[in-house]
Symmetry: D2
Subunit: 349 residues, 4 copies
């Protein structure tokens, strides 16, 4: 950590900063320039309290040197982590390293029949994990809010029947206990990326966590949220880029493609992309999915519906099954370029 | 709602959109131009499902005409709403209309002694509501997370002693029941603005709700979150602008000053500003507070600490008591320009 | 164009809007709902003045239906335009449709020797157009500003010798006449995307224009800038995505990958990506280049330097020749997936 | 300047960085921590080339300590600079320090009669400098582009008659010579903030420069553009905040209110706000103007039109003369709070 003093900071302020650094267990390292005095704090950054140092008189700014996350960092673990989703009645699907994953399904589970129909179509096309919302975070209190536990039970049964682990969004700490027996992978939505109590609760379970990036979260803040889960002992975290808010209004959210190589460089955790929620419009979904894989992502999560105009939410962004099938074929080719392979579903094509 | 068709949309697609609008209970209104066909849907927008219409073949885009929120809108209530915070052992403090409010206190309650000391200082300076965090949303799992229920009891006792209602952040649905007997005003933090379950839970109580704007929430989304609370029967919602994420990195968040006149025009709810969290640095807090009042806000919420370098969180943004006192004097002058008055604390100055 | 009236707009205001629309040569189309009156203006949007309509009493907002650009639009030209760069002593290089292009070279021309060395390396690796800055737009007046005309002459000679058309940035209207005899393709930098006089001047020439997207320009504004060039009679415009400003600070600019499919849908103009300026750091350049091609771009422009630490500008983002060579190989594979081919340089590999 | 090495940087890389720093004329200062090696470069930052250091092997990042601008900085000049606009036939109007300025007029000069009428109204209301566009930067090539030199001559005559210096936008280097005899203050528009050739040209004149902030320029980049003008010997630069691009779409641009105290802290240059272009809608203009003054701005620039629906550009944002008059009265009150005074126009009210 480096403390930059104001141009006119007094000696007493400089001394105070130095003794404060020592009190925190680090070694101060004074460097006087013609225009600025800079004090390095040598020692583990984690033991240093940047905010406290920044509050001291005469301090202009504090520049951290170490990354604020640990368990999520490449320093903690050099190689790529490989996560396992599923097990028991359904196969274990791997994500990370050489294993690319394709997660697909409807935005929301609307009824049993549509769930099975879509699940079969995406499975046949190459998806190995089934997604489907049962509690839906909706901007409006007057919109469809999901069918809850009943829909979750359908998801479980459907996943078991087809041999697909299921990935389901959890929105509230009170749902964790109720949902845990059914899910294989928790989804934390973008709006809950900094719902710290929820992160802690799923961190206490031993189910994988798909952590979507918040709409205005930096890559660093995103990894800090992963750290919340990891610090509870749950090491199965998969990052998911789904677009950020920018000034551009031609699409719903701007997929931050650079977050893929950045997160890969900073962290050992796998990262997948969600082109459906980024685009908000099916015309752009395949282009974004392919771009994500080309940038080095470990997979995609895509929404599919056989009749988008009947969908109770997010119909405009759902791919038709035939487009999805074509997309998976192209994804396989790109994956091979980056040394990754999508698992076979075992379904005869 | 207006449906714009693709330049080359077929007649069958146009017919389908028109019959779908009728099925939703509205009247379709066809308008063929040289280059585009546009279909107006006349009727209450709320009964219309924009997403479903947008999913139909041949539709380029759907333009909503009505605002998506109702109870929060000026159409629902023309005049300015005046909220009441407190009552019982503490006085009722009004916010909205001609009543400006000054909420102040420490970022986090660190111990009983510091709480009382800061509370007395801010009360003396002119604050009528006491703020103080007991559960803290921290980006890092390794940072101080607040003292919880014990701190809340100190807040209650301190507020009662000084005659100040208290405003305390709630982070998790499971905390609502436990905290309700103690708080006068819930604070919903920026990161929880779209924690819809939490909004519903505080909406079921009859305590006022200070709803901070999410870091990437549009004014419309913010009012939709207010709608979640209002739709549960709790009409006491106060909006709080605290800065948004932009590319500018000279301050922590960019206070969106225009949200004040915009929210005032669209909604009858009071709106206050939080310059402390926007700025992240005390040097800029007073300028932003004054700007907020000049733009028409109904008050401010400010963090104060007598020794910022000892603060366990957000020390760099805490005003010193003497600066706060000076700020309140200037705020009173500006408030009078916009026809508002800060209540007297009853403390002899 | 659709005019939405205020909820309480008077009949006189409605009449005024209708007669104004007629005066502009379009047909007004009245639609009264329960809560809002909406007036459609049927006719060519271009003849309608949205700002003037928005200024009338009682108008809440004006919603344009048509795109504001014409010559750049898919409505004007359905198929993909193919541009030709070069000719004369150097071969004509095609961009657009099935033709992918690879432009490469140093950020700035620093001396003759380095230019030739880099040009040979990128040509050998597969680049068919040579880039190199001679006037450099620098944030600081104290930074290296380029070598000007002398450097341009070296570029010309080097391009001629290797058989590569050259692409060079022009910054000021006064440079156009001087530079025109030498360049094959003008580069308009991001900071000049709305330098309308400059756009007009290059629009009057018959050399191709590589139009970089402004750092905060929407896709629509970008196409409007293309329209400036096109409207002067120069139909050779190539769009170039180079990143936009967002809150994310892990890279220099966020490459807006979705601009590729969006621009493709809205316009017939070719679009390429500039991963070097987006990333600002060589570690991320290849991932972004590959993502751009996978999203459907018509090519890339990449900065290369054999000794980045000696570069006089933007060294940290320059790829080493060997990394560039590897990148080109991967780009060829991805291009084939989207039905595009990079031209052969004729250099024996 | 501080160079942070990669965790696994080799000794040779460290040595190279140290010798490079020495070669640049500064003293390297090595600091080895448990996890990171950090090298401080002690000496004037300006002589150090951050980009070159960042290009060296093993370097993770380079953190500048000094601000990159000099002449614009508080270090260069501690007190507030006071600029003088006008002189000769018109009075000299001061801006900065205790002098607040009110600049007003039409968006574009449409004809002689309207110019005089608006100029008289704003002068009467309290404006001391007249604004009016003669060359208009328009997003569309098909929009009204201004009346050019003829309009400028009307501006000059009108300013002379009323005793108001005039402020006029220049868009192109080729216009500088032609316009110079007529203008008192150049306006550099937001889209030209990084048109470096234009900055240099107006920097060579001795007329004041109103430098609007670019739509995606950081405060630092804005001051660097001021530095371009200052470095040519023209010390009369006035900053103008006019809104930045954010995700918020309820207004045209988000006025970055915090840029006022930040620019004040970093620079001695005066700063005014332009609420008209930020808001894009007259309903919000007064609130933003008042907020700007309350935050410490040195004045405002406001667009006024007696019949906005006849305006040839930006009608929706023009204040009516009576609203403008009321605004000026409120601005005077707020200015007095921040120790500033608006000059008297000498017009009997």
């Amino acid at each position: 950590m480096i403390v930059v003093m104001n141009p006119n900071a007094e000696q007493a302020s400089i001394d105070r900063v130095m003794s404060e650094i020592e009190r925190m267990g680090a070694r101060p390292h004074l460097s006087r320039g013609e225009f600025r005095t800079v004090i390095g704090a040598v020692g583990e950054d984690a033991s240093l309290d940047a905010t406290r140092l920044a509050s001291l008189d005469g301090v202009e700014k504090v520049v951290p040197i170490m990354k604020p996350y640990k368990l999520a960092s490449r320093e903690f673990k050099g190689g790529d982590s490989v996560m396992s989703i599923g097990g028991g009645k359904v196969p274990q699907v791997k994500v990370g390293g050489h294993h690319a994953v394709c997660i697909a399904g409807p935005c929301a589970v609307e009824n049993e029949q549509m769930l099975y129909r879509i699940a079969r179509e995406v499975h046949q096309a190459g998806a190995t994990i089934l997604r489907g919302g049962v509690y839906k975070p909706r901007t409006s209190p007057y919109s469809f809010q999901g069918l809850g536990l009943q829909a979750l039970k359908w998801m479980r049964a459907c996943g078991d029947e087809l041999g697909m682990p299921i990935c389901v969004e959890v929105m509230d700490t009170r749902q964790v206990e109720e949902m845990e027996p059914y899910v294989d992978c928790w989804q934390i939505g973008a709006r809950n990326m900094q719902n710290f109590d929820l992160l802690r609760e799923v961190g206490k379970t031993r189910k994988a966590v798909l952590l979507k990036r918040g709409l205005s979260a930096s890559v660093k803040e995103w990894l800090m949220s992963a750290e919340y889960v990891l610090s509870q002992g749950n090491s199965q975290v998969i990052l998911c880029e789904r677009g950020i808010k920018t000034f551009e209004d031609s699409i719903r959210y701007s997929m931050d493609i650079s977050s893929v190589p950045v997160a890969k460089q900073w962290s050992h955790l796998p990262i997948i992309v969600d082109p459906s929620h980024a685009a908000g419009k099916r015309d752009y979904v395949s282009a974004l999915a392919l771009a994500g894989m080309a940038a080095g992502a470990d997979g995609v999560i895509v929404e599919v519906h056989y009749c988008p105009s009947e969908a109770q939410c997010d119909g405009p962004q759902a791919l038709l099954p035939e487009s999805f099938k074509e997309l998976v074929t192209q994804l396989r080719t790109i994956a091979s370029l980056t040394g990754k392979t999508f698992a076979d579903t075992g379904v005869p094509v």
